[in-house]
């Protein structure tokens, strides 16, 4: 076929991680970035609250504190060497973004402004620290735009609206990817020496989610199909504050600015669960607290939601109770206009989707599926590693939400994902270019596109007895209800079974659109296949881990069990079954201890 492109490095995905990788790789090697969405439509653009770095612009802060908070936040499952690496790089990473023109909010001195975020503390006092560098409540949008703009400036080659379908492996080395050009339906082979995956997460497998339609786990599934493992897939983050029913995210920044959670009885309940940092405890803790309130009958209107309150009078009242002060020591206050100025998008979401004005009314919220902690195992240079000895798979890299370095362990702290993208995106780009300059192209097989074509053919030739939309709806419900915030043996067994059943039914699906041009029917169905595969792995790994840690909390094993489970899960798909292995956690300075906020 004619559509063969040759590049030293191919980056799949153009979100924060992909663009950063593309930018750095293209400085050293001929690079292409392919993305199924226009780059500016990647999900990084949805990130609201901020990017974490111990700049110390408003109060004392140090990378060591950031490291410790992240380790603690991860419930000691994060690899401490990687975490330390990331937190040390954080300061330069944020400054680099500023130098690229990112319009951060400013302090009166003209420096980058920072706000408190869940789980980020001053290690000496235990009080929340201002660490999240932000640009209003659209920090991710600004990062995405800025990186895309810098890529344009540096003339990075983009293939927009090309969806990768299959990773090519030749002689045990990555050799490129096959992608479909959405506008024509034609397959293209990208022949490369190094491939970087930056395809984002898979939060769309859950019913209530803050994630984009595009979050279907393509990257993870593509690797799984090639017999490569995924790491820590049982760890999925539920964000405490999603808009009721819709799941649209209300950033933690709202609580950072002083917002509090209120149950159906009008009581503030977080002090019960996290006496020191209260509403700014880490996300798993707050999500569970909300669920506990709901279960014990204190949901709003007897239903399954609670309220988030950022009305200025409440903020001032509770800030006074908490003894919160401004940097100069005066009591913390806020006005309606300030709320509007600091959280414009949040206010807009509430007005549009709920008809509620947060400056004068309460926001109904419920935990929402949010972030994929697990993913493609990599080391801190973004190189994909495939076993318990961290053996590197030559030529293959991953960064961003699809990767598991692992810096987030059992639970990611807010603001650490954007940081992860920038730091590991950069290093994977550098490494990939370095590698590509040392090796030769692998020879491609005669028909490189055969695999991708046959995947499509299967979807086109099903019996048509089943409807993909129904299968998707059911999967989302099963995953949210049975493998959600609270988990137990019985539910998860039934989830594994049900997902298997859905996979069987999926074989009966037939795509109705037979055309080539923009066949979104075909691609959405293909994505559903990915989601089912990822969902199965998640359910399996979750069932397998018999303890509670971070985002994974089991009613039947409510305690963390460092004796048996202080280890990463690796999961392979072999002959249609999920097989599980383990990998030790890297512990350097911080010995596991009980996690209290």
């Amino acid at each position: 076929m004619a559509n063969i492109h040759q590049f030293d490095v191919v980056v799949v995905g153009a979100g924060g991680a992909g663009l950063m990788a593309g930018l750095y790789a293209s400085r050293g090697a001929k690079t292409a970035v392919i993305s199924k969405l226009y780059p500016t439509r990647s999900h990084t653009g949805a990130a609201q609250g901020g990017i974490g770095a111990a700049l110390g612009n408003l109060e004392e802060d140090k990378p060591e504190w950031h490291t410790y908070d992240t380790v603690k936040g991860s419930d000691y499952l994060g690899d401490q060497d990687a975490i330390e690496f990331m937190c040390n790089e954080a300061i330069d990473a944020v400054l680099e973004l500023e130098h690229m023109g990112l319009p951060f909010d400013r302090t009166p001195e003209g420096r980058i402004s920072q706000r408190p975020f869940g789980g980020h503390t001053n290690n000496e006092t235990g009080k929340p620290v201002r660490r999240a560098a932000h640009a209003a409540d659209r920090t991710g949008h600004m990062i995405l735009q800025t990186l895309y703009q810098q890529c344009l400036k540096n003339k990075v080659n983009f293939f927009d609206e090309y969806q990768a379908l299959e990773l090519l492996i030749v002689n045990g080395k990555a050799a490129g990817v096959v992608a479909v050009e959405l506008a024509t339906g034609e397959l293209h082979t990208f022949h490369a020496k190094a491939v970087i995956f930056a395809t984002g997460g898979h939060g769309r497998i859950f019913e209530v989610t803050s994630n984009a339609y595009a979050y279907t786990g393509d990257g993870a599934a593509m690797l799984l199909r090639k017999g490569l493992p995924l790491e820590d897939m049982e760890f999925f983050q539920f964000h405490p504050t999603g808009i009721y029913k819709l799941g649209i995210l209300i950033t933690e920044g709202v609580r950072g600015e002083g917002g509090v959670l209120i149950n159906g009885k009008g009581e503030r309940f977080m002090p019960k669960y996290a006496p020191t940092v209260k509403d700014l405890a880490s996300r798993d803790v707050v999500s569970r607290a909300i669920y506990t309130e709901i279960r014990e009958g204190r949901g709003a209107n007897g239903s399954n939601y609670v309220y988030l309150d950022v009305r200025p009078e409440s903020v001032i009242k509770y800030a006074a109770l908490d003894g919160r002060t401004n940097p100069d020591g005066s009591p913390y206050t806020i006005t309606g206009e300030e709320v509007l100025a600091k959280l414009p998008d949040i206010i807009d979401f509430c007005r549009v989707y709920l008809g509620v004005d947060p400056v004068t009314q309460l926001m109904p919220i419920q935990p929402t599926a949010h972030y994929t902690m697990g993913g493609i195992p990599t080391n801190k240079y973004g190189e994909v590693v495939i076993d318990d000895k961290n053996t590197v798979f030559p030529g293959l890299y991953a960064a961003g939400e699809c990767a598991c370095v692992s810096v987030h362990g059992g639970n990611r702290l807010g603001t650490n994902s954007l940081l992860d993208l920038v730091v590991f995106g950069k290093h994977s780009g550098i490494k990939a270019a370095e590698y590509a300059n040392q090796v030769d192209f692998q020879e491609l097989p005669g028909d490189a596109e055969a695999g991708a074509r046959s995947q499509f053919d299967t979807l086109r030739n099903g019996s048509g007895k089943e409807n993909a939309f129904d299968i998707a709806t059911e999967m989302k419900k099963v995953m949210f209800d049975l493998v959600g915030i609270y988990r137990n043996e019985k539910d998860m067994r039934s989830a594994v079974e049900k997902v298997r059943g859905l996979q069987e039914r999926f074989k009966q699906v037939r795509v109705t659109d037979t055309g080539r041009i923009f066949n979104t029917d075909l691609l959405n169905t293909w994505e559903l296949g990915n989601m089912l595969e990822v969902a199965e792995v998640i359910a399996h790994c979750a069932l397998n881990r018999k303890e509670s840690r971070g985002g994974h909390s089991r009613e039947d094993y409510p305690e963390r069990d460092d004796q048996n489970w202080l280890k990463h899960t690796l999961a392979w798909k072999k002959d249609g079954n999920v097989s599980i292995g383990y990998k030790p956690v890297v512990i350097t300075k911080y010995q596991p201890k009980k996690r209290v906020y």
């Binding site: 226009y38 500016t40 319009p103 980058i112 549009v352 989707y353 109705t512 659109d513 979104t520």
Partner: protein, 235 residues
């Protein structure tokens, strides 16, 4: 409750001309138009094609003409537009299939205004951030909100009349950089904008401002650009 959804359909591989298809579906007042499109695609006709991703108005994928005016389908609820809903692709760009239009001309115009931060001066000696006062930062805050959805450009009669006009979205991006006190290429950008296809083609029609789902006061931003060219003042 039932709504009638009239959707513009065009399949390039079969049709010579476009047509409309009408569907009646169950919906709630608080459903997004995007939800309705998903329902039609999921249950009635899988071939219906449209773009979407974030589903809450921040990615800019699904700008469409709904009841005769540009909106984001995911940020428009049934209660905003009533029970008889017509959905059509954006005007002024070629239709590739159904509701999907060719975005290339739009992004090409965007790329013409040097849409990236330019400052070749040495960094501050301490290696830290370039300082910027909160006031200087606020000066261009509004135009940083753009998500490149194209709702503005495809509602602009001047753009309909002539697609070589850069269009409001590109001008918004130019504004974002020209009024950033840290950027150094304002003059190059103004020269680009002052050409015949630049701001001169804007006749203050306001369609763009009304269409912008991010509430950017686009006409005002363009007005500021014009005055900057005349007076040279950038603050």
């Amino acid at each position: 409750m039932e709504v009638t959804l009239k959707i513009f359909r065009y399949n390039p591989e079969v049709d010579k001309k476009w047509h409309y298809e009408t569907y009646s579906i169950e919906a709630e007042e608080t459903d997004r138009i995007l939800d309705l499109l998903e329902k039609v695609k999921g249950h009635v006709d899988g071939t219906l094609s449209f773009r979407r991703s974030c589903a809450h108005g921040v990615c800019g994928s699904d700008a469409l003409r709904i009841n005769g005016r540009n909106y984001l389908a995911c940020k428009t609820l049934v209660r905003d537009v009533g029970h008889k809903i017509t959905v059509e692709p954006l005007l002024g760009l070629k239709v590739i299939k159904d509701l999907i239009v060719d975005m290339e001309p739009f992004f090409n115009n965007y790329k013409k205004v040097l849409p990236y931060f330019i400052n070749e001066s040495p960094l501050p000696a301490d290696g830290k951030e370039r300082l910027q006062s909160p006031e200087d930062r606020a000066r261009f805050d509004e135009t940083t909100k753009c998500i490149l959805c194209a709702a503005c450009t495809t509602s602009c009669p001047s753009y309909w009349g002539n697609e070589s006009y850069l269009g409001p979205a590109a001008l918004v991006t130019a504004h974002r950089f020209i009024f950033d006190s840290r950027d150094e290429a304002a003059s190059q950008r103004l020269e680009i904008l002052s050409e015949t296809n630049g701001v001169a083609r804007c006749h203050t029609i306001f369609n763009c401002t009304m269409a912008c789902p991010r509430d950017i006061k686009i006409t005002k931003a363009i007005g500021e650009l014009k005055m900057a060219m005349v007076t040279g003042k950038l603050d």
